[in-house]
Amino acid sequence: MNNKIKKILPQIITVLFVLGIFGFFTFNAQINMDNRGIDFGFGFLTQESSFDVQFSLIEYSGSHSYARAYLVGLLNTLLVSFISIIFCTILGVIFGVARLSSNYLIRNSAAWYVEFFRNIPLLLQIFFWYYAALRALPVPEKAGPWFGVTYMTIKGYYIPSFIWTNLDIFLYSILAVVVSIIIISTYAKKLQENEGKQIPVFFIALGLIFVLPALTFFIGGVSLDFGIPVLKQLSKTSYVFEGGIGLPPELIALVLALSLYTSTFVAECVRAGIQGIGKGQKEAAASVGLTPNQILKLVVMPQALRIIIPPTTNQYLNLTKNSSLAAAIAYPDLVLVFAGTALMQTGKAIEIVSITMLTYLSISLAIAAIMNWYNKKIEIKEK
């Protein structure tokens, strides 16, 4: 009995202490807010926001509500994080593997790349890409076309917009491609396990990806037109592109900075993962006659991934949180739109800051959950 109390008592005291601190601060904030005539509530979310946002994935204007503005900011944050995570993973894997190359030039340039980009503060890199790009890029009327129909200008990167007819049929064909590839690869795996036969899954899949969607154009009635960006004169000396899709330079600079910066950390995770695999594994694989590519794909990577995934998850989380630096270069992310303009216009600091914090927390937890699921999937299964 005495022993039990000894064990539990410190824990109870700790919990009470923590609760006490929280309670004190809450009480304190409430009193101070009362004194200053600030009231607390989330009613403002349904009010008209009456400010516009530069770039939005959903339809939005100032006549929509603050809740809608929040959604605009959230989607922009997710967009920039998603694109940057993909780019930083691709770059990270390439440079991580390159750092272990037997080629002196490749190995050392990869090392320089990593050391250079990870040792400069991120905010500085964002400013660099943004202002350097702004200064270097041409004004719209002087921009020559890239790939014929896209224009890189100081006001953004303009690409043709897609105008579909019968888009749904095309999407169904994509779905059919995905399903059939899954079926074929499962069948191929079985075939190899049972009979030792190999079929060229990769080429079959490649063929499917091209043939099926292409067929929908010929017999499915699908057609695609392009809205080409056209130069329009605003005044004697200023021009802008109309039609097509304009990606703002803020988004491009942010993606560049975030993915280059984070890719260096991912590269180090990849390198650590590969180096964590015993030399014997590679030698054994080589001795049974696997080619270097097969060794990397079949023996090293499956084991290295277990080492790579957990620290890489951290980098993805960092990247997402770092995307809040967007406010510095006017990219309308959650912090700029919601914790910036909306906070200012409503004065609801506590409500908005807490919503923003909870949002980032949820995004981070979601990313962590996905990565944990993936980690579980690839970890060694005891049989």
């Binding site: 200053r36 100032g62 005044s235 004697k236 000396t237 906070l343």
Partner: protein, 345 residues
């Protein structure tokens, strides 16, 4: 269920900002003056650098008409106009800094609006600059009026200001589609506009005039004649401290009234023997005006001697550097402007 969630969120939320509040936890109503005198300096929130209004030089000395309001308060309550601690704030941070008690006066080219005054725990004490929102464009664009704006124009501005709202009202009422590019700091807006990111830069006209001086080549830019909004700029204090509110209000009023009666920093002492009782009250030679705030009777004399009257402050900070040589509406009511303050008596 919703109530529980609301309570829970409010609980989490409180914790988020509590540090800001703890410093002011002990301060009850009307204690700002006492705290200021105990600390020995006035805590003043200013801009992050707007020439003419609040701008720091290379050695960290702040100057500007907004800065002078804080200096006037310091002269009145502490006897020394230099006893001010300036906190540079972005447009986004300013109100939170004030309501959370990090500063005691916000003198940062802030527009007085109904919702700010009534809604978020602030009190505006007066107007030290009558302004309006305008547009800046490149001279070589050939644009000479806002009527020439066309669909697709991109406009650089600051977030968290009335500018964003006015801009929307303006473009919407004219049916012009535009691209708002909103930055957190004024310096970034200027850099982006200067680099050619935007076709126009919009903010208060005084701000445009001041920021123009920071551009690579100021002569290439011009401010369009139209004014699309009323922007009365003035100092703000926290709601709930009436005495402090009065001190700030009458420090500003003293500067304006001193100009009206021709009292300057150099002739203030000699005005003590003036025949005009209004002047004698302002320089502390008659009446007991300071007592109402708990100050001595020389408070207004110190303001005039150490900071100068409004006209001196305007000339020193705005006219002489060439920002806005013409006082426009910021001229005394006796000289065709709209500066008119209640009498100090």
């Amino acid at each position: 269920m919703f109530k529980v969630i609301k309570k829970l969120t409010s609980f989490v939320a409180m914790v988020a900002v509590l540090f800001a509040f703890t410093t002011e936890a002990m301060a009850k109503k009307s204690k700002t003056l006492k705290n200021t005198q105990k600390k020995g300096f006035v805590r003043c929130g200013v801009s992050q650098g707007l020439p003419g209004f609040s701008n720091a030089d290379a050695s960290g000395n702040w100057t500007g008409v907004d800065v002078d309001v804080c200096r006037a308060v310091a002269a009145a309550v502490l006897g020394d106009a230099n006893k001010v601690k300036f906190t540079p704030l972005s447009a986004k941070e300013r109100f939170t800094a004030l309501t959370s008690g990090e500063i005691d006066i916000l003198s940062r080219n802030t527009t007085w609006t109904l919702s700010r005054d009534a809604d978020i725990g602030l009190t505006f004490v007066g107007v030290n600059f009558y302004d309006g929102q305008g547009f800046m464009v490149r001279k070589n664009s050939g644009i000479t009026s806002v009527n020439q704006f066309k669909n697709g124009i991109s406009a650089c501005t600051n977030i968290g200001t009335t500018t964003e709202l006015n801009m929307r009202d303006f473009f919407n009422s004219r049916g012009i589609s535009y691209e708002p590019v909103a930055f957190e700091k004024a310096d970034e807006v200027v850099a982006a506009y200067d680099a050619g990111r935007c076709d126009t830069y919009t903010t208060d006209k005084s701000g445009l005039a001041a920021q123009r001086t920071k551009m690579k080549n100021p002569d290439e830019h011009m401010v369009l004649p139209e004014t699309i909004s009323k922007e009365p700029l003035g100092p703000v204090v926290r709601q709930g401290d009436a005495v402090w509110e009065d001190i700030v209000r009458w420090s500003l009023n003293t500067m304006i009234e001193a100009e009206e009666y021709g009292i300057t920093s150099s002739n203030a002492d000699s005005m003590k023997t003036s025949d005009n009782p209004a002047i004698k009250r302002l320089v502390g030679a008659e009446g007991e005006l300071g007592a109402a705030f708990g100050l001595d009777n020389d408070w207004s004399l110190r303001i005039i001697k150490q900071v100068g009257n409004y006209g001196e402050s305007y000339k020193r900070n705005i006219a002489d550097p060439g920002i806005l040589p013409d006082r426009g509406p910021n001229q005394l009511w006796t000289k065709g402007g709209i500066l008119y303050v209640p009498p100090a008596r």
